[in-house]
């Protein structure tokens, strides 16, 4: 079916053109300008889903803020499942990275004085979120992409899809990819490979993610024996539009928007987030500015009690911005006004926006150390696909854009360091046999005479994840979903493509993505099943499991790929050296401020 495989070679290969990928490509080039850096992505870099981030990026900026406070918020937000050394490094480097982006031209919103402006964000004690109107991710991504054009050493492979990694003996030698435009196969040799392939939200039915967010990189590393860490923690964003799942940014609440149930009542005060704050005068970590997991869970309870609102596209509550006034809304939240008008036909100036929770972010991912290195030599991972340990059981909004930058730089630097050293070269024979293996799934898809269609399988995957592995989980539900996944994997072997062409065979790509998604989904469910407690975004319904249980589960889950059977879960200790676990509190009963520590 496929003719000869072409070969390319480079020093540092970055897979993924989102914020993480671009930042690491630039860092690699700056670390060693003599290296050949190749940025490969299945879509043009500026189409990557970083583009959709609206709210902002966090870094301690104001005089009355402190690194300690950002650290505390992040650790508490993570329900003490964050790696505290990593968080410490992160908060210390966040500001510099946002400044770097400013020096590259990012149009951050400003105060009258010309200084960068910061806004409030959920779960953050102090306003420290930098923003560029309500298109922060868009501006970050375009600034990075445009800056990358400055470096002649960075060459791009746009619209190339990675099929597999070339791994032998715990060493990564490169990847095999398909040039989407022609369908041609390419073997790309690289001294180091950085996976920056983004999240996996598309394994769910109802999500804020773009069509490309299918967990490819996670599955690639996973299949080669790298653990996926903390996969059970999937963040639901409390404010997605009904039907599409399109995100209505948390900044709406940061700017003073309020949530109302069917009785026009601000129900959040009933869920430990009160006391009620006056509309338009938001208070950090209180009411609407509580963390995402709590807000999404509150919706679930309201829905159980029949206090949500009927909408043609399902149950919703209202996000009310009307009291903020037209002028303010058009200045601060123009994109939200545009989205609401287009996709639910609501003018936020005049009516409340119907919203409901939607899957938003995968806290877990490819296990890496603090240097973004995986357990495979020469293989790095960064961004949403990775788990460097920043988010634990729940990510705070606006930490992840900064993560892309802080750790993108680390990954690029490290990959460049390794690529600059001399390293064992693989023999051509080895590489071609690895390539041959990598092409097996592709050949099977092409030669299949089964009857299954990718679309139906994908639909079942998404629905069953929503049912069994959603905001609240139970053993029975998870088992049910796991068995569905198992069946789907069987059916996947019988997949048949309607498109037999080579050029832009998007059906083939969707099928491959589905294969990746099935593996990632299974890791999520298996980890969720074995975490018999409730923590952060992972909430169990069974009696006795509804509380956090530090004794048994103050640990990361590690999912290992098992050919032919469900994932194997191991447990890994958490670094809590800087801040001992305490109860997460929001609203009126917040934690007392920690005295500033030396280490922060």
């Amino acid at each position: 079916m496929h003719d000869a495989v072409k070969t390319l070679s480079t020093d540092v290969l970055v897979v993924g053109g989102g914020g993480a990928g671009l930042r690491s490509a630039i860092a690699a080039t700056e670390a060693n300008p003599k290296l050949k850096v190749t940025l490969l992505s299945k879509v043009y870099p500026m189409r990557s889903h970083t583009v959709a981030a609206e709210g902002g990026a966090a870094a301690v900026t104001m005089a009355h803020d402190s690194l300690q406070a950002h650290f505390d918020d992040t650790v508490a937000g993570s329900d003490w499942l964050a790696e505290q050394g990593v968080v410490d490094y992160f908060v210390k480097h966040a500001f510099d990275e946002l400044v770097q982006l400013e020096h590259w031209g990012c149009p951050w919103s400003r105060q009258q004085s010309g200084e960068v402006q910061v806004r409030r964000f959920g779960g953050m004690k102090t306003e420290r979120t930098w923003f560029a109107a309500d298109k922060t991710g868009f501006h970050i991504l375009h600034t990075l992409f445009q800056t990358s054009l400055k470096y002649p050493q960075i060459s791009r492979l746009d619209e190339y899809f990675v099929l597999d990694l070339l791994v032998h003996d715990r060493h990564c030698y490169g990847v095999v990819a398909i040039e989407i435009a022609s369908g041609e196969l390419v073997q790309i040799k690289a001294a180091s490979v950085i996976l920056a392939t983004g999240g996996a939200g598309r394994v769910y039915q109802f999500n804020t993610n773009g069509g490309i967010v299918t967990g490819d990189g996670m599955a690639l590393a996973y299949r080669h024996g790298v653990a996926l860490r903390d996969m059970e923690f999937v963040q639901y964003h409390p404010t997605g539009l009904p039907g599409s799942g399109i995100l209505i940014t948390e900044a709406c609440r940061g700017e003073g928007g309020i949530l109302l149930n069917k009785d026009g009542y601000r129900y959040l005060q009933d869920y430990g987030l009160g006391p009620e704050t006056p509309p338009g005068q938001p208070q950090n970590k209180t009411m609407e500015l509580g963390p995402r997991d709590k807000l999404s869970q509150a919706f679930w309870h309201e829905q159980q009690q029949g206090r949500t609102i009927q909408h043609p596209q399902g149950e919703v509550v209202h996000l009310d911005l009307r009291h903020l006034g037209q002028r303010f809304l058009l200045e601060r939240l123009p994109f939200i006004c545009e989205l609401a008008k287009a996709y639910v036909n609501v003018d936020p100036v005049k009516s409340p926006i119907p919203i409901r929770p939607a899957v938003h972010y995968t806290m877990g991912g490819i296990l890496t150390d603090t240097n973004c290195a995986t357990s495979i030599a020469g293989l790095y991972a960064v961004g949403e696909c990775a788990s460097v340990g920043l988010h634990g059981a729940n990510r705070l909004g606006s930490n992840s854009l900064t993560e892309l930058l802080v750790f993108g730089k680390v990954a690029g630097r490290e990959a460049a360091r390794v690529a600059s050293e001399s390293h064992p070269a693989a023999t051509e024979a080895l590489l071609s046999s690895l390539t041959e293996q990598a092409l097996t799934p592709l050949k099977r898809l092409h030669n299949s005479n089964g009857t299954e269609r990718w679309h139906e399988l994908r639909q079942q995957l998404a629905e069953s994840m929503e049912q069994g592995c959603g905001i609240y989980r139970s053993e029975a539900g998870l088992q049910q979903t796991l068995s569905t996944l198992n069946q789907l994997k069987q059916s996947y072997q019988q997949l048949r493509l309607g498109d037999t062409g080579k050029a832009f065979n998007t059906e083939l790509l969707h099928a491959l993505e589905l294969g990746f998604g099935l593996d990632v989904a299974e890791a999520m469910c298996q980890a969720a099943l074995e975490r018999k407690e409730s923590r952060g975004a992972h909430q169990r319904q069974e009696p006795g499991l509804t509380k956090r249980n530090d004794e048994d589960f103050l640990r990361h889950s590690l999912a290992f790929y098992q050919t032919g059977s469900a994932a194997r879960i191991e447990w890994q200790a958490v670094d809590t050296s800087l801040s001992p676990p305490a109860e997460r509190r929001y609203g009126g009963q917040q934690q007392p401020d920690n005295p500033p520590k030396e280490s922060c």
Partner: protein
């Protein structure tokens, strides 16, 4: 193979001479918008439309107005610049309609603007010199 490399050195392209023609075109555009309606309305169509009398357009008055030193402004604003305005659009129009482009079309277009403009200036100069 479709690799998007940026390492081809960028050559600096030639500076266009279009700024000259475009400036004349724009100045002409302003004149056409500002002066032409007035002149067309009151002078060329003034009598048929009954807006002005033949007496108002009598020889002496017009002679005095047009060949006054300030009348040069009228020649420039109502003839010369509009000519460049017009020929600029015709030049681009030929390209748009895929009729002609390149040197020849350009020479013909702007050349005729220069020619007709010279004619207008010459007509004005000879008379105003003689009478002045």
């Amino acid at each position: 193979m479709r690799t998007n490399k940026q390492d081809t050195p960028q050559t600096t392209p030639r500076r266009s001479d279009e700024p000259i023609w475009w400036s004349l075109f724009s100045a002409g555009g302003v004149c056409v918008a500002m002066l032409v309606p007035a002149i067309a309305l009151l002078v060329l169509l003034g009598i048929p439309l009954g807006l002005v009398s033949a007496e108002q357009l009598n020889y002496q008055r017009l002679q005095a107005l047009v060949f006054h030193p300030l009348g040069l402004g009228v020649v420039l604003g109502a003839m010369v610049l509009p000519l460049f305005h017009a020929m600029h659009r015709i030049h681009h129009g030929l390209h748009d309609l895929k009729l002609a482009h390149g040197r020849l079309a350009k020479w013909l277009c702007y050349g005729s603007a220069v020619l007709l403009s010279s004619l207008a200036l010459w007509l004005w100069l000879t008379v105003s010199m003689a009478s002045g």
